[in-house]
Point group: C2
Chain length 546, copies 2
């Protein structure tokens, strides 16, 4: 069998390696338009920041090394510019000379990835200091700029994970960074209130954050960035990081079906509308694992997984890709920010009813040094307990909890099963009730009618409309800040002061993170008084409204 | 309802808190024979080592604080010395005065825990420097000894996790520590080869380790410890940490059924043979989650979980405890050592056939600073893919991988599902193929007949009996150490040197960790040559035999 692969990095190289492990006989040719194959895309920002010091480390495999090891015909500096599906050939163009030739295939695998979106902004063409970051040459250019010109001010356009990683690494190099994002938050996979923790942290780290701002023009050859609001930012360099678009031009030209964002449509075996042609990675549309809807999630895990599955399917194995959960994570200075599954924004858009709990336990036993508050949000279906998604922000243990919940989702577990996840406990790692268990308990209580909650975005209006909000924290805590209109009765005095609770009002309760509020609600319920607890307590409320 | 609880720490306090959240009306009395309730047992060793500096931090709840918050009648310094099941009463004895009284119950919850085993060793009664560690007074005694007498030499008898934690913390205080264990390894939950990594690390940290040694006598009032082998160790202090026995005396006297190690038998609702009496925590026998057999697993997660379940069951909820996986972890100096489910030792004892893979990937992307080798072992059923257990040892990311696999087990996932676990990937946290995915791939290959392996303990005999072992590492690697009798053909030369492979011998292949060996096996298979790969490679082999 003769197999051609377009693109020699995450999806392409994974497919190639697995193909060879499945057969010594196949002829495998891998085309890569750039110099390098199999490089560490995800490490690029950290090389700019000199966290990764050796450029060589970015090169996971070399053309020669991988070619020899896997007996592959790897043709770098060679771009595939056309596919002839009738003839089952591709047209390859040598980048250096422009010389073209055709190559035939039995199976064709497309893994050309995605490219940074370059919007048409006034003055962008004239500017000589606008950068995007996708590959090694991009990285070299950015690093050279920083090394040689020691820029003082950078404007990062786009607050997605790549934008934030660039911002952090420029900051590490002493550059003053401003992030501009059209949305009201950075990190689209998480919801607004969780992103607020990130916003505060970014500002603490000296990053200027301009949200709900749109770039209207780039002035003076890139020396200034003008926003819709009229603000003008000085910029020694401008980083464009507003997202990526699938590299689907040759696929479209060959008449392959495309979908969301122009990404190539594939079936569950990752075959395009032409069954001899497979496509994987950042170039394809995927099924949302939770809802089965079409979506676009360009990440490294799916690309690697899909690359291997395609090799298996070509060799007759029953290889099925079940869709993408979108589990993702980014380090943002001292924070880790992660999520899996659906967020509230998506569920609202899809019109799917859901329930939310926020828990804020320690990352490990509070009495053991280094414990840090973990902000964990769980989104689920109140009727069935189905887990829709989870988000976590904190300094430690974020990745673990999101991975555990992602695993639970893949295992068809519901929130009722989360308390039963028997985690590894010793003080440096967790608590005897892990944060995941805790989120499961809180969610279970809602399902079983033991707890009713309201959310941070509902409480101000509730109080404004005459709702009675009891704050059960200590007076000392209340003195440091409380929700306007709340009345303080410390939890430990509540049983003795029940007569102070009004009989004629809608009742709500709050505390610092939601735990004492929940207990207070149980105490009141036990005395025949119905009450709703503010989920996440004053902690979450103040994250948003401080 | 009137509910009595015996024991005021992990299981007892958890039950009490949940009981109150379920009902404001119940009369709840919690008896604790010591001074303190709800303390951090698991933190005790770290207070000795001054990693936890404030003694107060060990006290998660106080008698007064918890009593007020949960409206509990907490009676510390009060031991329950008898149960009258007919009368539904217990006899309580005030520790200070010896005064006794009875208290009636509707439901009785036993959570008295376990106590350190004190073997009859010659001279142990005469020694005044023998310590066990279970509670705050024990900790105070040990810490005082270290603070005031600055002992130079300590002998820790028993290499379980408590023994190792004590050893580490004494070492941190500058004490010369010798660990003596009867078995050939420390940390019984993991298998021998994994424990060898721990052994080496302990020795690197200056701990003397005497395995397969039994203490025959304590001499000179504790100044010396004599072993069966004749070795005599000097000892300024002796720590006994050879395990615990359930505190089931009053249960037995009351005629409640007991099982393994004398632990109380309970049904899936945690009811003892008397349905009005529940028991939880270190005092009960549990079902092995994997095999359904009776076993004894005294850990904090189960105690906390069971405490809450009992409260639920008392209040009419459908509360079921499904058995204990035994997920556990310990920090051993710079290493984390964790496991879940069954180990090989247990499977052998039960006569259950199983397959093993060892993978040794980086804890996170190798090019990002701080990555450390993760030794991950997966044990599974080759026919069904059922996961029996996993073990991990390394400097980073150990807890996460074991928690993910523990979750997969609870979600009834097989090794075939592990490659599909979509983890959160960015370079500081993982690789695009996570170690859990990698273990899943390796196991899947075995199930699908893509790979056949032999284990570290089989290869020497195989070679001795004429098996041909090909080492496909580079000559440089081989020069640093290789398996006796192996023949070196570097992987990248293999395709060109197939004629050197003998036709008349049983063929085996190895490399550093098993990956190149696997690829070599695929190359040979692709050329019609059948071969088995040494699982874990020279790395694992040398861990054991160095
Ligand atoms: C800076 C950065 C940081 C990232 N960080 C993370 C992270 O932390 N976590 C994460 O999950 N993901 C991350 N990603 C995304 C991840 O790298 C991609 O999802 C993944 O690499 C996609 O794999 P792929 O094979 O589809 O495309 P790529 O890995 O991009 O490979 C595509 C290759 O195809 C080549 N190519 C394109 N067209 C042609 C053609 N016509 N002919 C020949 N060759 C062609 C390209 O030159 C390219 O080398 C990051 C990406 C970037 C750029
Ligand atoms: C040093 C140490 C470190 C540990 N580290 C870990 C770890 O890292 N991870 C982990 O999972 N587990 C660890 N454990 C084990 C964990 O602490 C126990 O599994 C857990 O505490 C068991 O809960 P329990 O409620 O059954 O018993 P306990 O928490 O021990 O509580 C029992 C209480 O009952 C009291 N009591 C006993 N008999 C009577 C009576 N007749 N009347 C009145 N009161 C009585 C006792 O005084 C005791 O306070 C550790 C234990 C120790 C000692
Ligand atoms: C590295 C790369 C070429 C893939 O190569 P690969 O050989 O498929 O992947 P790995 O090196 O991780 O090896 C995985 C293989 O080794 C096997 N393996 C791993 N450890 C093993 C062990 N201890 N024993 C036996 N087999 C083992 C696995 O089973 C798997 O083989 P399989 O797919 O046939 O089951 C490709 O992933 C790549 O180019 N990566 C860099 C680019 C990238 O991913 N960018 C995005 C993130 S920065
Ligand atoms: C602390 C101790 C008394 C247990 O008290 P507890 O109140 O049951 O447990 P926690 O303080 O963890 O609180 C858990 C409760 O808060 C709820 N909760 C937690 N976070 C919440 C939030 N943000 N919003 C709403 N509810 C929340 C949980 O749902 C749970 O309530 P539930 O059981 O009714 O569902 C007991 O575990 C103990 O004594 N521990 C120390 C001893 C020990 O465990 N030793 C061994 C390990 S060192
Ligand atoms: Ca609600
Ligand atoms: Ca085998």
């Amino acid at each position: 069998m003769k197999i051609l692969i377009v693109g020699g990095v995450a999806g392409g190289a994974s497919a190639a390696a697995r193909l060879r492990r499945l057969s010594e006989k196949d002829e495998i040719i891998m085309f890569e338009k750039g110099e390098y194959i199999s490089f560490a895309n995800c490490g690029l920002p950290y090389y700019v920041g000199e966290v990764i010091q050796s450029r060589n480390k970015l090169l996971v495999q070399t053309v020669e090394g991988m070619g020899t090891r896997f007996n592959l015909d790897i043709r770098n500096w060679t771009e595939i510019v056309g596919i002839d599906r009738e003839a089952k050939t591709v047209t390859a163009r040598k980048v250096a000379t422009g010389e073209e030739y055709t190559e035939s295939y039995d199976k064709l695998i497309l893994s050309p990835g995605a490219s940074p979106i370059k919007p048409r902004i006034e003055g962008i063409e004239e500017a000589n200091n606008v950068y995007t970051l996708r590959n090694i040459p991009d990285t070299d250019r950015i690093k050279e700029k920083v090394d040689l010109e020691k820029p003082e001010k950078a404007v990062v356009i786009g607050g997605g994970f790549i934008g934030l990683e660039i911002a952090e690494n420029l900051r590490e190099r002493g550059v003053d960074v401003t992030i501009v994002d059209m949305s009201s938050q950075v990190m689209a996979p998480i919801d607004f209130e969780m992103a607020q923790i990130v916003h505060t942290h970014l500002r603490e780290k000296g990053v200027q954050l301009l949200l709900e701002e749109n770039v209207s023009a780039i002035l003076d050859g890139g020396k200034k960035v003008r926003l819709d609001s009229g603000i003008e930012l000085e910029s020694d360099m401008i980083l464009l990081a507003i997202g990526v678009m699938p590299e689907s031009t040759i696929a479209k030209e060959a008449g392959l079906e495309v979908g969301v964002k122009g990404a190539i449509k594939v079936n569950e075996h990752l075959q395009t509308s032409d069954p001899s042609i497979y496509a994987v990675g950042d170039v394809i549309e995927v099924k949302d694992y939770i809802h089965g809807t079409d979506t676009y999630i360009p990440l490294a895990w799916p690309a690697n997984r899909q690359g291997r599955l395609v090799a298996d399917h070509i060799h007759g194995k029953e290889a099925v890709y079940h869709g993408t959960l979108g589990t993702s994570i980014a380090k943002v200075f001292d924070l880790s920010v992660a999520s899996t599954g659906s967020n509230e924004k998506l569920l609202k858009r899809l019109g799917v009813p859901y329930e939310v709990v926020h828990v804020t336990p320690n990352s490990h036993a509070g009495y053991y040094p280094g414990a840090a508050q973990l902000n964990l949000k769980l989104i689920f279906d109140k009727e069935t307990g189905r887990i829709y998604g989870a988000q976590a922000v904190g300094k430690e243990g974020v990745d673990k909890r999101i991975d555990v919940i992602a695993t639970a989702i893949k295992g068809n577990m519901t929130v009722l099963d989360l308390p039963d996840i028997e985690i590894a406990y010793a003080p440096p790692y967790s608590s005897a009730k892990d944060p995941v268990n805790m989120a499961g308990y809180a969610a279970t209580n809602i399902m079983e009618g033991m707890a009713e909650t309201v959310q941070w975005h509902e409480i101000d209006e509730i109080v404004a409309n005459g709702g009675y909000l009891l704050d059960v924290r200590s007076p000392g805590e209340v003195a440091k800040g409380a929700i306007k209109g709340s009345v303080n009765i410390p939890i430990d005095e509540l049983r003795g002061r029940l007569d102070e609770i009004p009989q004629d009002k809608d009742l709500y309760v709050t505390c610092q993170v939601g735990m004492r509020g929940y207990l207070a609600a149980r105490i009141l319920e036990g005395n025949g008084i119905s009450v709703k607890n503010l989920d996440g307590g004053y902690h979450l409320y103040s994250i948003v409204y401080r």
